[in-house]
């Protein structure tokens, strides 16, 4: 009798845990959405969940190419005026029709969202006026020429004006001066599925903070019947438990399994998909006379000399890093964005040549090298600290003695922004998917007044490049803009103002009967998970 008990128990337990049906999908995410309000916090974890429920005028496909969304087509009227044709026959989850009024209401609400940790006003700030010609035709006027408007619009979720209590007539005014808004619900109200009404393929069922977000199929979705009856997204923040949840069958798919666990997951019969991401891992060097953490140079900052910067770049064996430290899940980088994305030139990766690096150092007047501190986060990017250690060893080969200063991300970013590191390792994901993003943030001259170079903690400055970049950012013609961005990037890289290391690859692991086309922007979007053909 006793011998029987155990297997019997096992049988009962297993029966209780069998999946309800094959119509459900459950995903283990590495971080949690902080709100169901798609206009509350501009954060990738929030966006990838919200995109199942809410849509925007435009969409970005897996390669970040802009394609029509709720807007069927658009045309440029003049440099600052755009006309959008809205899709007909689109229904909200509550059954009401999607019209231009919903778009105006949604854009109007952005500046009215309270307590936003990272507001969406960076996208609405440049919109001077919006007017509905009819229910499905909308003109948008921008304050300055903005060729990236269709890209920006992808970030602005369209809410239901009816569900949120707008008046019949909503009139646009910049920076929160709209009329007819009614009583605007704030972020916490979006936990209620009656408020969180969008046009997306899935309807919010419940949001249990810290535990799960559950969405169900929207049968009247304009883009055809969604694949899953029910999707559960669970935050499992630690790597080990997330992998365990997949192996144990708790979830069907996980994002970002640790690289060292991938062989084991594959052995278990799971599918691994990976793709190059838009995230570049780079070294930035403090290029101003007064720099901390440098020794053996009589107070001079050797990083001011382009030859020293080039020496650092060519002393790094990028292939070794991607092969040995990144386990092949990265690609050596020659640019700030992986080609063939917009504005890339296909420039070659800097060659590994330590002999030439030593010569350059000697020419620059540092035949015996110098000592320097390399700052890096140790929990932000894939194997970040190990990469920094490898770079340190490679620089030691040419006589630069590097001490690695690794800290947790929250500490690292504070110290980096306070210019505490003469050299630092960090990453940049170009959310717009084009070259102006890294150029504007990382290498344009730091200027609080114009908003250029906010993340340029190397304080690189090249006025010629700045001029070209600003011109490019105001050029509507794609071909001309592409060329200008390529030229601007070439200026920076010829100058070795910043050193690209590698492009990260994003990895997903899932049950073999699922298909996911990996996204360049690293988002895990439940709506794009498909079932493999039988």
């Amino acid at each position: 009798m006793k011998a029987l008990t155990l297997p019997l128990m096992a049988g009962i337990m297993a029966a209780g845990l069998a999946p309800a049906s094959a119509q459900t999908l459950s995903i283990g995410l590495k971080s949690e959405a902080t709100s169901m309000d798609p206009q509350f916090h501009q954060l990738s974890t929030n966006i990838q969940v919200a995109k199942n429920i809410f849509e925007a005028l435009t969409t970005q496909d897996a390669l970040q190419m802009v394609t029509p969304g709720l807007a069927e087509s658009w045309e440029v009227v003049d440099d600052t005026t755009w006309r959008f044709k809205l899709r007909q026959g689109v229904k909200f989850h509550d059954g009401s029709d999607f019209t231009a009024r919903d778009v105006i209401y949604s854009f109007c609400r952005v500046p009215l969202v309270e307590n936003s940790p990272s507001p969406y006003t960076i996208f609405t700030g440049g919109i001077a006026d919006m007017a509905a010609e009819d229910d499905h035709t909308l003109t948008i006027t921008t304050t300055a020429t903005n060729p990236l408007l269709p890209v920006d619009l992808w970030s602005l979720a369209i809410l239901s004006a009816n569900a949120l209590g707008a008046e019949d007539q909503v009139t646009y005014g910049p920076e929160g001066t709209c009329e007819g808004m009614g009583d605007v619900p704030q972020a916490p109200a979006f936990n209620d599925p009656a408020i969180a009404v969008g046009t997306g393929p899935y309807i919010l069922d419940r949001y249990n903070r810290g535990s799960e977000v559950v969405v169900t199929r929207f049968d009247d979705y304009w883009g055809g019947t969604p694949d899953w009856e029910r999707v559960t997204m669970r935050p499992i923040t630690s790597d080990g438990p997330r992998v365990a949840a997949l192996l144990a069958g708790d979830v069907d798919m996980i994002e970002s399994p640790p690289i060292q666990d991938i062989p084991r997951i594959e052995q278990g019969g799971f599918t691994i998909v990976d793709a190059l991401s838009n995230r570049i891992i780079y070294l930035h060097m403090l290029q101003q006379e007064d720099a901390p953490g440098i020794g053996g140079t009589d107070g001079e900052n050797p990083l001011m000399d382009a030859r020293v910067r080039e020496a650092i770049s060519i002393s790094i064996n990028r292939e070794a890093i991607t092969e040995r430290i990144m386990g092949g899940y990265a690609q050596a980088a020659g640019e700030l964005l992986p080609p063939p994305m917009f504005g890339t030139s296909g420039r070659d990766v800097d060659p590994y040549d330590p002999d030439r690096a030593r010569e350059l150092l000697a020419e620059a007047g540092y035949p015996d090298g110098f000592s320097i501190t390399l700052g890096t986060p140790n929990d932000r990017y894939i194997n970040d600290e190990q990469v920094a250690q490898a770079v340190a060893q490679m620089l030691a080969q040419i006589g630069i003695s590097v001490s690695v200063d690794a800290s947790t991300a929250s500490q690292f970013f504070s110290r980096r922004n306070a210019l505490e590191f003469p050299v630092y390792l960090a990453g940049w994901g170009a959310s717009s998917g084009d070259m102006s993003s890294p150029l504007k943030s990382l290498v344009a001259t730091f200027d609080a007044a114009t908003g250029m170079g906010p993340t340029n903690a190397g304080r690189y400055s090249n006025p010629e490049m700045d001029t070209l970049l600003i011109e490019a950012m105001a050029t509507i013609d794609d071909e001309a803009r592409d060329q200008m961005l390529q030229d601007a990037q070439t200026m920076v890289l010829d100058d070795h103002g910043i050193i690209p290391l590698h492009y990260e690859q994003t990895v997903w692991a899932m049950k073999p009967d699922l298909i996911y086309e990996p996204r360049v922007d690293q988002y895990t979007m439940a709506r794009e998970v498909k079932r493999a053909a039988e």
Partner: protein, 325 residues
């Protein structure tokens, strides 16, 4: 009694205040939340606006002053990340942690005491030695590793139980609990065992040592000599007398289980307060970190106070000596 109580409450308040100062200053120095919160594409002006809105541009003493003033009115600040009152966010998570801690406590007491007493009664038997050996394992293996091993064996290899999460919850006395459904219960088993193992080992050792001591006492020998059944001797005379130290430990450990189930909650993705603390530290959500630590201090201080009061009620000697001192 009143004097004693007033003095103990006064001491507790002092402890809470000292903690407030330490926590606030500590949190102030672990980094600037804006660098983590704001989208990196934001311009300098937008970053400055966020800094101002969150009040981070004010000097430390001013921020502390505002915090104390609001705290006295019951407002522990608004979470930077969630944009809602920090206390509300923590209290949202409290039932999950309480449930886990209480189940773990029941497990450690329900299993720990019988095993400990058994080992104490027969210290040299094979069973007694095995129990003690097991308790050393439970003591010395790191909590995190135990958790991963439980997941590996019961979830991945055997597939009996889920690897993490909370499962289905139902409403019970106005709180969401998971022990009422099979799905919820199956999610509860592994984390509860993980959290209970260490406490169980502690209780086994405590019960064993006390049992051995009590067995030597004259009244036990006398009870035996009088011809009482061994069952009655153990259940009435031994068990009653070993309970005093065990109750003390249970009281103290319950507080620490509620406040610091962090490791277990992280390993099992259990949506409790501990996991909230870790997430908040990573995001530098200062108001939540401060409110959490203040709340745990309050809980521990309150439990200690309660234990002391119960003591003095049980044992008048404690009260008397305090009054003289």
């Amino acid at each position: 009694m009143i004097v004693y109580l007033v003095r103990r409450v006064g001491q507790s308040l002092l402890a809470v205040m000292a903690m407030a100062v330490l926590v606030f200053i500590g949190v102030f120095f672990i980094g600037n939340p804006v660098d983590v919160l704001v989208n990196p594409e934001a311009s300098q002006a937008q970053i400055a606006a966020t800094v101002e809105r969150l009040g981070l541009d004010r000097p430390l003493y001013e921020q502390f002053g505002i915090f104390v003033w609001n705290a006295l009115q019951g407002d522990l600040g608004t979470s930077f990340v969630y944009g809602r009152p920090a206390l509300e966010i923590i209290l949202d998570r409290l039932p999950a942690t309480m449930e886990l801690a209480l189940v773990a406590l029941a497990l450690s007491v329900g299993i720990g005491i019988p095993l400990g007493v058994w080992a104490g009664l027969r210290p040299n038997s094979i069973a007694g030695r095995t129990i003690m050996g097991g308790s050393i394992l439970g003591f010395s293996l790191p909590n995190f590793w135990q958790g991963m091993l439980l997941i590996l064996v019961f979830a991945v290899l055997l597939g009996w139980l889920p690897a993490g999460g909370r499962g289905e919850t139902t409403e019970f006395l106005g709180m969401q609990v998971s022990f009422l459904t099979w799905d919820g219960l199956s999610h509860l088993i592994l984390p509860a065992i993980n959290l209970a193992l260490f406490k169980m080992s502690l209780i086994i050792r405590l019960a064993r040592a006390n049992t051995r001591e009590v067995c030597m006492q004259d009244y036990v020998k006398f009870a035996r000599a009088k011809g009482l059944s061994p069952r009655r001797v153990v259940l009435v005379h031994v068990l009653k007398n070993i309970m005093i130290p065990v109750v003390t430990i249970i009281g103290l450990e319950l507080g620490s289980m509620v406040a610091f189930a962090i490791v277990t909650e992280t390993v099992f993705a259990w949506p409790g307060m501990g996991k909230l603390l870790i997430d908040s530290i990573n995001l530098l959500d200062r108001p939540v970190i401060v409110a959490y630590l203040m709340l745990t201090v309050l809980i521990i201080v309150a439990i200690n106070l309660l234990v002391d009061v119960i003591y003095s009620a049980i044992d008048p000697r404690i009260r008397l000596s305090e009054m003289k001192g």
